[in-house]
């Protein structure tokens, strides 16, 4: 599979007169950006950059997405993007947005969006107003004032890609590719325009793959580096589904009819239970256990970022719920290093042996 890199994609977009937003994790209104002619390129660290710029602004107990993301934004991406978009995902990304806005004048314009934590009518009303406000702010960068019709058209295009994304993410068993290939395609949604992602994903070979060892489900914020999947296969397991922030937590309902901003707000609030929006504990545990049963997973590997409080709070009760359902559970923490530490790999290896 030939997939362009982020760098190539940014250049393509620029060549076609488009604008690029660097987007931090992880729920955001793609269609609204598109209606402004802005294409998102997501920033999840990455693992291979250092964290020098980040450590000059944030204490060592801040997660590496923030530390390395700051380095990435101030270094390789500094000139390449037109703006930065930081959704309000957690206290750390809140702090990052605040520091970049107030203390880093050299950065590109920073936009934010507050994602309400509830699912009430008042939350929807607020998010609709928040999207209108964001749209007005984005005009400063895009020079565009999208109409309701413009937004609706952008939503239609994004929806085609979203449908393909969820179809793939929920049906791992139907694709004859390795886990690494599967997640490489799925995660290309992080930076490919909707049309390119749709074409790429629809071309992924279908069929039954050769299953390696025990079925495993993974959870966490981001599965980086992708070597993780090679290691999992090497230890005698295959991935049957995920509850990752970068992947299946971003399966949304199709947008409804009526006012486009209203519909976008409702859609943005329709993700599966998610710790970053403080979903009720039991609802989230039931969702994960159901997913595991449906995919016949024998265990849950929580592969998580150190210092990620939203994730950490759920862990003890999540472990109880998974064990009570008769499946295995392992939590490992990572710091987005380019090579996964051997101690982490040893624990994953031992876990797979135990559940095999």
């Amino acid at each position: 599979m030939q997939i362009p890199s982020r760098k190539e994609m940014i250049q393509n977009i620029k060549d076609q007169g488009g604008k690029v937003a660097a987007v931090l994790p992880y729920h955001y209104p793609r269609a609204l950006l598109r209606a402004h002619g802005i294409f998102p390129v997501e920033v999840w660290g990455p693992a291979y950059v250092d964290d020098m710029a980040g450590t000059q602004h944030f204490p060592e107990y801040t997660c590496k997405i923030v530390q390395k993301g700051t380095q990435f934004l101030m270094g390789p991406l500094a000139e390449a993007v037109d703006c930065i978009f930081i959704p309000h995902t957690c206290d750390s990304l809140q702090g990052m947005a605040s520091v970049m806005k107030d203390f880093m004048p050299e950065s590109k314009p920073v936009f934010t969006l507050y994602h309400p934590r509830g699912r009430r009518q008042s939350d929807k009303t607020f998010l609709t107003a928040e999207l209108h406000h964001l749209s007005a702010e984005l005009t400063a960068v895009s020079g565009v004032r999208p109409t309701d019709q413009d937004l609706r058209e952008a939503m239609d295009t994004e929806e085609k890609a979203s449908k393909v994304f969820s179809q793939i993410a929920l049906n791992r068993r139907d694709y004859d590719v390795t886990d690494r290939e599967f997640y490489t395609v799925l995660r290309s949604r992080e930076y490919l325009p909707a049309e390119d992602f749709t074409a790429l994903a629809q071309g992924m070979p279908r069929g039954k793959r050769d299953l390696i060892g025990v079925p495993l489900m993974i959870s966490g914020i981001v599965a980086d580096p992708l070597d993780l999947f090679d290691h999992i296969n090497g230890f005698g397991a295959h991935v049957v589904g995920d509850d990752m922030g970068c992947c299946s937590r971003r399966i949304y309902d199709a947008p409804g009819n009526g006012d486009a901003f209203d519909a976008l707000a409702v859609q943005l609030m329709s993700m599966p239970p998610d710790p970053t929006v403080s979903s009720p504990y039991k609802k989230r545990f039931d969702h994960i256990v159901d997913q595991m049963k449906e995919n016949q997973a024998k265990g849950l590997l929580v592969y998580d970022m150190k210092f990620c409080e939203p994730e950490l709070f759920y862990l003890p009760m999540l472990e109880e719920a998974v064990l009570a359902a008769g499946m295995g559970f392992l939590y490992v923490e990572i710091e987005l290093t380019p090579i996964i530490p051997q101690t982490v790999l040893n624990r994953i290896n031992a876990f797979i042996e135990v559940i095999s």
């Binding site: 206290d91 203390f103 934010t112 507050y114 009430r120 009303t125 607020f126 409080e309 950490l312 709070f313």
Partner: protein, 439 residues
Amino acid sequence: MNLSNAVKYAGAATLGKPVLYYQKQQNLKRIEALAQKNDPHLSPPLKANARMSQLLSEQYLKGRFTEGVRKVAWHSSGAPIEILQTLDFFLYTPDNHAAMCGARKLGAQYCEIAENKGYSRDICSYARTDIGSFLSGKTPVGRLPKPDLIVVSNNICQTILHWYQAMGVYYNAPVFVIDTPFLYGDAKAHDVAFVKQQMEELIPVAEKISGKRFSRKKFHEICRRGKLCSDLWCEVLYRAKHKPAPLSGFDAFILMGPVVALRGEVSSIDFYHEVLKEIDERIDKGIGVVKNEKYRILWDNLPIWYRISWFSKQLAALGISVAISNYTYQWAEPAQYFDLVRPMEGAAKTYLHSILNRSAGYKLHHMEQMVEDFSLDGVLFHSDRSCKPYSLGQMDQSRAMLDNLGLPCVTIESDHNDERVFSEGQISTRLQAFAEMLG
């Protein structure tokens, strides 16, 4: 109503008074004994500390017997308690309980209990303290009242939502969230409308649980008292503008209990009147909390509860007085938004504008204003592993303080409740170096 508990509750409220009065007298004796010792650097503690202890002890004592007598609402320190007080809920603040455990050096012990259950050391130590307390049944106050309703607002952090939701699961109690969008700049109209709408939505939920009708008239009166209490608290803090400062930031950490947990109660208002009277007597007599006050500084972030006395002594010995902390000011500053004509909208603005819900740049501006108002010579930044909303931004704020005002700053790394993180030697060295910079 549970008759047996009703009798005990009434007993705690009446018969407990002599016991608490005795406790207060004992505390006053201790303060007097400290005065006799005549510490070379520090004046004796304010007598108001004894009264404060009595006030909170009374609340905890009643809390033991509320079951079946009054409905209990647990609330975060930034939640709109005026709505709950209007419906006569018995109020309990887990944040305060965690802080009290920290001050009694029980933080690490309770944290370890939570950690043994699987809670990471990387989550907030307040949360671990309270969860550990629940899991073990241990608490220095004897017994905690079980919640009928939990009301939490994320105007101090997102962490608190997870912490309170966990408590909701453990106690099988409904959790109502007052979601306060973070303010990167000024509050937008839809931010205020959102918070106000949620407060309105809380009313029928709380009415159903309390079995009482919400009275707007009573609510207005409680808001009036809440504003008065916050204004008095502001006056208390402002007295530290006087040189030498008659009270310290460490005193304020202790004395803020009522404005956090019992705002709007007549007893809290009376208490702060008493505090002001005692402080004014000190000012009249020229008594400063640090006897040889050479430098005046700001404390940024939460206190290190288990080391308040240690810091107080260390800094006093260096001639440093912590005149003000922006943490304690949190319950004073937003009082300006209380609107007695439109109390619900005023309350929405008040809770939205908590300093912890505001940008790093705003916090810097706020600190710079304090430097001027309180004639400060430096800033001590507590980089608190357990509080990201406060701590992220400090590195830039510290640089800006030096660049904009030429003000010496020091950063100490620690944790507000988990004493295992505290490094005495390292911090002591930094404080001494800081004193040299101030000189």
